[in-house]
Amino acid sequence: MFLHHLKYDILSMLRTKALVIWLIIFPIVLGIFFKVAFGSVYEKEVKFDAVPAAVVEEEKDPYFAAAAKALSEGDDPFMELTYTDEKEALSLLKNGKVKGIIYAGGELRLSVAGSGSGETMLKVFADSYNAQRKVIVDTAENDPARLPKVIEALSQEISPATKVSVTDGNTDLYNQYFFNLLAMVALYGSLLGINITLYNQADLSPLSARKSCSPAHRFTGLLATLVSCILMETVCMTISVTFLHFVLDVDLGKHMGLVYLTSILGGILGVAIGFFIGACNSFSFNTKVGISMVFSMLACFLSGLMIGNIKPFIQQHCPIVNDINPAALISDSIYCLNICSDYRRFTIKIVTMAAMTAVLMILGLICTRRKKYASL
């Protein structure tokens, strides 16, 4: 009976045009769009010279000094820093000798005269430094031995042009968009998850009402639809990762196996979200689809799918959002696989995703356990 349900659930989903469009075609098209849009930008950026900037030290800040040193030295430096006073710095900026003035001492402030890519990169540096300064200070106070490593990680994170040998992946700024694209495909799994209730909750459709009248055990049907959604989402995630990596040549790092597994787990989380959205309320099916889409897009927006710098901003002002935002968790997990040499942060993200999946599935099951309805 389980296989009978499974066969037709999969067949039905595979033939649902909306699902194929949103879960397979749309991500491929968006991936191509990203590649076309960012590909040329990246090509330009890797050839960038170091960005000239003036530093005005309002207070001595050893952490900034260490980070600045890491970013302005080496074969392919990110910045070319000139330490000076404010008057001289303003003069340099006015004459176009520097792209911006960094005011160091506590939280960084930045003053720029234009809006070019150099200025943008300085802004990225300032934002990222401010977002991670607390981590740097905490590490310096509690575990000074790890400080160089943390600063190195920061360097890698904010420098789109630097490839540091201590990482076994890449730190291309624009890869974030592709990671978020994968997060989006995963969260679109919620569109599949809603089907679990559509196919099995008698008050949602005549189809499920008819199924409820049959002698087939309700849980068997529910489980079969759940498994079919997970299988379908697994296929979609696999297609997306494969297309990005092997067709569009997006560098997803050296741990491709883990990237696949992370993406699939993200997809299962998406299915669980859809299952919960479908089960926890009595709205119509279309309303549930709407809720699911809005949630997915909002989560992806907050994770940086549309505006790349939003995640550091959220990390600075409300870090809990990044800790529970499923899109951020998925994209961060893949990001961690690319830049971290240890798996601690990656593991935390994965465990959080697995826990969220389990909780949402259990809540979904609790909400759908009812067998009779007050109204149909």
């Binding site: 009978h4 037709y8 649902t16 005549p206 009402a209 008819r210 049959s214 009779k372 109204s375």
Partner: protein
């Protein structure tokens, strides 16, 4: 027609302040085609949903095949076929796949299932549409698919909830004939409709519902005997004077009449040769007339007389 297949005892279902079923009771015997007739909103579908244990009800008792019906009464459910008011099929599956899917919920043996599916396909006449998706089917064919999905497993009790809504007359007749054939093969049928002609045509026993209550029950003849009217005579005639009308009204067994300037309608209660007597009056007064016809009482007349209003579809 001995065994009781369905027994509903004093069923009460409320939606907030609205009482959808008000101490509704029913007993359906094996081999019957039992009609639940009533206007839209009278409680027919609510009754069916309670019967199938889809809806929770406030009070009452439901037994099918002598056993209490619950959501987990799988042994009862395997012998029930349901054809819902709304077409309940997968839009993405073909005609054959849909029937196979629903039949598979009842029959696990593949060979047996294939036989049943093929038989159901033939029964509803969808042999030429096996690979069609539901969206490609006309309204009538779609309803036939809906029926095939409900009867493929050869149930002992078939519940049809308004299966002919929005169906063309040709398909409607085919559906009605099919239901009679299923009954002839041994299935007990519960048929809900607000189309009195359908119920009158196929049902062996009928319950008339209104506002959640059963207002009458019996065979169609029994129901018709419950009311005063036995015959309605209609004559197209012009220039009828008050004197002639009063002569007609004074004839025996005539209890009511109406005249709108061209159409005379006479309502009779019992008696023989009422039409001849009306014709004689017209002839005696040297009046020429056009079409003349008589009608026996319909279930709508029954409904009208009991509730004081027509069945809503008639009104529409």
């Amino acid at each position: 027609m001995e065994n009781t297949v369905v027994k509903i005892d004093s069923l009460v279902k409320r939606y907030g302040d609205l009482i959808a079923l008000d101490h509704f009771s029913l007993e359906i015997k094996e081999g019957e085609i039992f009609g639940l007739l009533g206007p839209n909103g009278s409680g027919k579908t609510t009754t069916i949903n309670c019967l199938l244990s889809l809806l929770a009800f406030d009070k009452g008792d439901i037994k099918i095949f002598g056993k209490e019906m619950t959501p987990t009464s799988y042994d009862i459910k395997k012998d029930i076929g349901v054809i819902m008011q709304n077409v309940a099929v997968f839009d993405e599956l073909t005609v054959y796949e849909n029937i196979d899917y629903f039949c598979g919920l009842y029959i696990t043996d593949k060979a047996e299932r294939k036989k049943c599916v093929d038989e159901a396909v033939r029964f509803v006449g969808l042999e030429d549409f096996l690979k069609f998706r539901p969206k490609k089917l006309s309204g009538g064919l779609l309803r036939r698919l809906n029926i095939a999905c409900g009867i493929a497993h050869k149930p002992k009790l078939i519940i049809l909830d308004e299966p002919t809504v929005a169906v063309d007359p040709q398909s409607r007749n085919k559906i009605l004939e099919g239901i009679q054939e299923l009954n002839a093969r041994g299935a007990t049928v519960i048929y809900t409709s607000h189309y009195m002609e359908e119920v009158e045509k196929i049902c062996t026993r009928i319950a008339i519902m209104d506002k959640g209550k059963k207002i009458a029950e019996g065979t169609k003849d029994q129901l018709k005997r419950m009311i005063k009217n036995t015959e309605t005579i209609t004559v197209e005639v012009l220039g009828l004077t008050d004197e002639v009308i009063s002569q007609i009204a004074g004839l025996p067994h005539i209890y009511d009449h109406s005249y709108d300037g061209s159409l005379l309608t006479v309502f009779c209660s019992g008696g023989k040769h009422n039409l001849i007597r009306v014709m004689e009056v017209l002839q005696k007064n040297d009046l020429s007339f056009g079409r003349v016809y008589t009608e026996l009482p319909t279930l709508n007349d029954v409904f009208l007389e009991i509730t004081g209003k027509a069945l809503r579809d008639k009104e529409d």
